[in-house]
Point group: C2
């Protein structure tokens, strides 16, 4: 079962306590699809400029990620610059050059329109709605958002949430969306909007899945070294959604395991810059780390 993702493909310039990297491959759709590709086929929709290097394109294609929906426009590729300090939990944005992303309108190639699994990565909620208008009859729609859209277009963000099966946000976004400190209350309010599940990511502290009937807590794996947390959330979503699509099911057991596969993929991603760690990843590494998560929480 293949997964459609709409989001950004970008250059990142990142400074962390472990180094400084210029124009490395980044973007929500990039991290999502690379991670997802270990579980399911991916159809990607995004935009890049003429300056987007063919080696980055090949990197994605090597993982069988379908790039028919990757538009190439006159101009430069979206470029984000940010830095992380001591605690590595929050990026400080240094610049955001939207470039060709500024006028982006997602266009789904005809053969993408029957996609059953859809991931709306963090883009303008109006564009997220445009995507949904182009899809015939999705089986599962999962969406992300960010503080900027909650601030500028909260109503539209809420419209999107009503159309989602699963909302994935981080703890700060959940609180900002609902004005509730308690993540339990925040999740209940978001479920009240109409989505079926809410996933709240908590960085190094793991992630929570809320349904109307149960809560599941995926732990954060205590890591020796976090080199670069950029893309961890999208990498989580990739493992989560990829496993759901591969399973073709939404039982509590499948959803719980999907939360762990998401956490497994994110735990690898933060160990190096860009896709460097994921590029070296073997299927057995995923299995081994899944077992580490089991040992970490079993009692």
């Amino acid at each position: 079962m293949s997964v459609l993702v709409v989001g950004s493909v970008a250059f990142d310039t990142v400074r962390t306590p472990f180094g400084h990297k210029e124009k490395i491959l980044g973007g929500s759709a990039t991290y999502f699809s690379y991670s997802c590709s270990f579980f399911s086929r991916v159809n990607l929709v995004a935009v890049v400029g003429e300056d987007f290097p063919s080696e980055y394109r090949e990197l994605l294609m090597e993982r069988d990620i379908n790039l028919d929906g990757l538009q190439v426009r006159d101009g430069k590729t979206f470029h984000w610059g940010g830095s992380y300090h001591y605690d590595m939990n929050e990026a400080e944005t240094e610049f955001t050059d939207l470039n060709v992303f500024e006028d982006f309108h997602p266009e789904l190639p005809y053969h993408y329109r029957s996609s059953e699994y859809v991931l709306l990565a963090n883009i303008d909620p109006d564009l997220q709605l445009e995507v949904l208008d182009q899809i015939d009859n999705p089986r599962l729609v999962v969406g992300d958002t960010m503080n900027l859209w909650i601030e500028l277009k909260k109503d539209v963000v809420e419209d999107v949430i009503r159309k989602l099966d699963i909302l994935i946000v981080n703890d700060a976004e959940a609180r900002q969306l609902t004005s509730e400190v308690s993540l339990k209350k925040a999740a209940d309010q978001l479920l009240g909007l109409g989505c079926k599940y809410v996933v709240i990511k908590k960085g190094e502290h793991g992630a929570l899945l809320f349904s109307r009937d149960y809560i599941f807590s995926a732990p954060g794996l205590p890591l020796e070294t976090v080199v670069d947390p950029t893309g961890a959330g999208d990498t989580f979503a990739g493992g989560f959604m990829g496993y759901l699509a591969r399973s073709g099911d939404l039982t509590p057991e499948v959803l719980r395991r999907a939360m762990i596969y998401g956490s497994v993929m994110a735990s690898f991603n933060v160990e190096d810059f860009s896709l460097e760690r994921l590029k070296k990843l073997q299927k057995d590494d995923i299995k081994t780390r899944f077992q580490e998560f089991k040992a970490l929480t079993n009692f």
Copy 2:
């Protein structure tokens, strides 16, 4: 098997978004022993002033907590004032009136000296060493500390850690003690000092147990309402240590369950001010919540 605790018995004046309470019963030894009493007998060592009300004393005695080691001195009881704001994760201290606690030297009644389970709550590390000098042959020594002592007397804190079987600290204290951001690296460094286990509490995000051979992650239970987080760490330690003493064992299975019992007790404690929630607690409530923790993490 009874547990010896040395720490503070105090008045707390607390302001949270849910109310303002004057001179309610608080203190590390209070929270610890009340929580521990659901699992094991407790022998308490602390000091209060002549103003300490008999109803507070009776509250502890009703739970079979032995107060032979509770000194009563001329003067006033230790009084702490603090407030919590929006995120409830950190208290802002408004005043600390040490009063009789200022000249406190723990004196163990003769029949306490053969205690096998010892909890050194957060007091001056020099006093923690004085306690250990008065104990014959403890089977398990667990200790806590705080930022103030790490700042003022780091060497003495490290001397104490060398004598502990289990160190319990929060994430900020672990980082302050070791200058490591990674909790894994911090724990390894603390284990390197000589203690056998390190527990790192992370507030609403749960707690981690580190040994040389494995890591265990206890989740935080997502609660609708956190009324007052004061004493949560000591309440955790009470459930943790009480269960260990009752089990008489330190297998990984017992330690993992002890982490969950600690978390169970702390999750009740934050639901009301002072001991209000714990006062109403039934053994079945503990069992039920233990099962909730199981459902929360099982995959």
